[in-house]
């Protein structure tokens, strides 16, 4: 583990954005294997190719997830990264940290690994980047004993659930994202740590339709906060926007903030056209509102979500491999999310879905792909959910209805001989 010539890497120490190369070099002072990280990266920059190989069976004993095995394909040149497994730690909901805990983690990872991390992985885990096979068990031991901290998911497991900042620091959260995220994480520890499914399963929680955790793009099941009564309007604050005392979007778009034009910026952009002014009083026909959040975003002081709050449940989002990407599909338009009942309603839906998917999902078939394969009507039937127009953007345009025999008067059995009596060949 020695310093290598790394002119390409070094170039990336220039420029205003924080440099991971400088950071690696700083860490290398304490964790010399970082020189080999830089060295192998340099080689990749030269070869324009990765130099990592597949992982395989590494993991901590009894867990089927949480570790991604990784080996260098040039271990002789870079022995410091011959093994370079990552460890996925289940982040605390919404990723708040106390420094005492973080410092302990830093020390532990400097001792047991490369000292490099990802804060955070795309699924939400805190990722410890690069260690040897033999360090895994000791690391896990210290982690659980000293830090009371457990691994997240990988493989065909429930993946580490993730949520937006929600009620902790946002005025719009329509349910308690942290509580639900943490509650389900604890309830499903087994599913997170040991493979249970045909393929990965991801759950994400956003407190409102802004979806700050991108659940609708990335989660097999997403819970998105909403309300079913009326937007709360503070008319005095509406006037403050009109007279310029408050800034649109809380000041988020200063470059285009000449004078607030409520018609152009709110009324005309409301997708349902359900807002209008009567003098300087703002009116909303809430029955027409789809709670898209636009007007609340523009006038955060004047408008607030209604008080009858809950969430929509969408299923099946995923990246494109293999059938093409899917966004979450509406499954439950509105549901109360109640910590009192330990989120009973949500749990029931999740488990009904798992039961079906575990039995009928094909290997490496994401939930969304299963839904596509069997069709939404069948999926709803399986889930015992009444079909609603809210499930669709628009009704089918092809005429190919799969009627079931019991739906058709007289069933399907007919006698061709009887038929022929009335209709000669």
């Amino acid at each position: 583990m020695s310093k290598h010539e790394t002119p390409l890497m070094d170039e990336l120490e220039n420029g205003p954005w924080p440099s991971f190369v400088s950071d690696l070099k700083r860490q290398a002072e304490k964790s010399p294997q970082c020189w080999d990280i830089i060295g192998q990266m340099e080689l990749s920059f030269k070869d324009r190719m990765t130099h990592w190989k597949h992982g395989g069976i590494v993991g901590v004993f009894g867990y089927g997830g949480g570790i991604i095995g990784r080996y260098s394909d040039v271990p002789d040149q870079f022995p410091g990264v011959a093994h370079f497994h990552t460890v996925r730690l289940n982040q605390p909901s919404s990723k708040f940290y106390r420094t005492d805990l973080l410092r302990k983690l830093c020390d532990l990872w400097e001792k047991r690994g490369s000292g490099m991390t990802n804060m955070h992985g795309s699924t939400g885990d805190l990722i410890l980047l690069g260690t040897k096979t033999e360090e895994l068990e000791p690391l896990f031991y210290d982690l659980t004993h000293d830090l009371q901290w457990d691994l997240g998911g990988s493989g065909s497991n429930l993946r580490t659930p993730e949520c937006c900042v929600g009620k902790a620091r946002c005025e719009w959260s329509c349910f308690d994202t942290q509580a639900l995220c943490y509650g389900l994480t604890m309830k499903y520890q087994d599913e997170i740590h040991r493979p249970a499914f045909p393929y990965k399963f991801k759950i994400k929680f956003s407190g409102c339709a802004n979806d700050c955790v991108s659940a609708l793009a990335r989660a097999d099941l997403s819970v998105i906060g909403t309300w079913r009564d009326n937007i709360r309007i503070n008319q005095a604050e509406v006037k403050n926007y009109l007279n310029g005392a408050s800034k649109s979007g809380g000041g988020a778009i200063p470059s285009r903030a000449d004078k607030f034009n409520i018609k152009a910026e709110v009324l005309d952009l409301c997708p349902t056209g359900c807002m209008w002014m009567e003098g300087d009083t703002l009116k909303i026909d809430d029955a027409e509102c789809t709670r898209c959040m636009h007007c609340l975003n523009v006038m955060p002081k004047a408008l607030r979500p209604g008080v009858e709050q809950g969430a929509s449940i969408m299923m099946g989002a995923k990246a494109p491999i293999l059938e093409g990407a899917q966004l979450g599909t509406m499954i439950i338009p509105f549901l109360k999310v109640d910590p009192e009942t330990e989120f009973e309603e949500v749990v029931e839906i999740i488990e009904k879905c798992w039961d079906y998917w575990m039995e009928h999902g094909k290997n490496r078939e994401r939930l969304g792909e299963t839904m596509q394969r069997i069709g939404l009507p069948t999926f709803l039937r399986v889930m015992e959910i009444e079909p609603l127009p809210q499930h669709i953007k628009e009704p089918r345009s092809n005429p190919y209805v799969f009627w079931r025999e019991e739906e058709v008067e007289g069933g399907w059995q007919r006698d061709i001989k009887e038929f022929r009596k009335k209709h000669a060949q």
Partner: protein, 76 residues
């Protein structure tokens, strides 16, 4: 009648040890007992891992099971 957990584990292990495939999906074990729910079978297989008789093999994205020693193993 569904098999007992022990019977189930026995069948699973036999399949993992002697079947033509070295690495199996959890679904491949469902056939060991059509009467048992997927969750029961999954739990039995995971217990065999805990007992050290089987191992998990993971691509990172996909997890499979193998009898100890039969998995495609980098470090062998």
């Amino acid at each position: 009648m569904a098999l007992s957990v022990d019977e189930l584990k026995e069948k699973i292990l036999e399949k993992a040890l002697k079947g033509p495939k070295a690495q199996l999906y959890v679904k491949d074990f469902y056939a060991c007992d059509p009467e048992s729910k997927p969750r029961v079978i999954k739990n039995a297989a995971n217990e065999l891992v805990k007992e050290g008789k089987m191992v998990f093999w993971s691509s990172g994205s996909t997890t499979m099971y193998a009898a100890k020693g039969r998995a495609k193993d980098e470090e062998k």
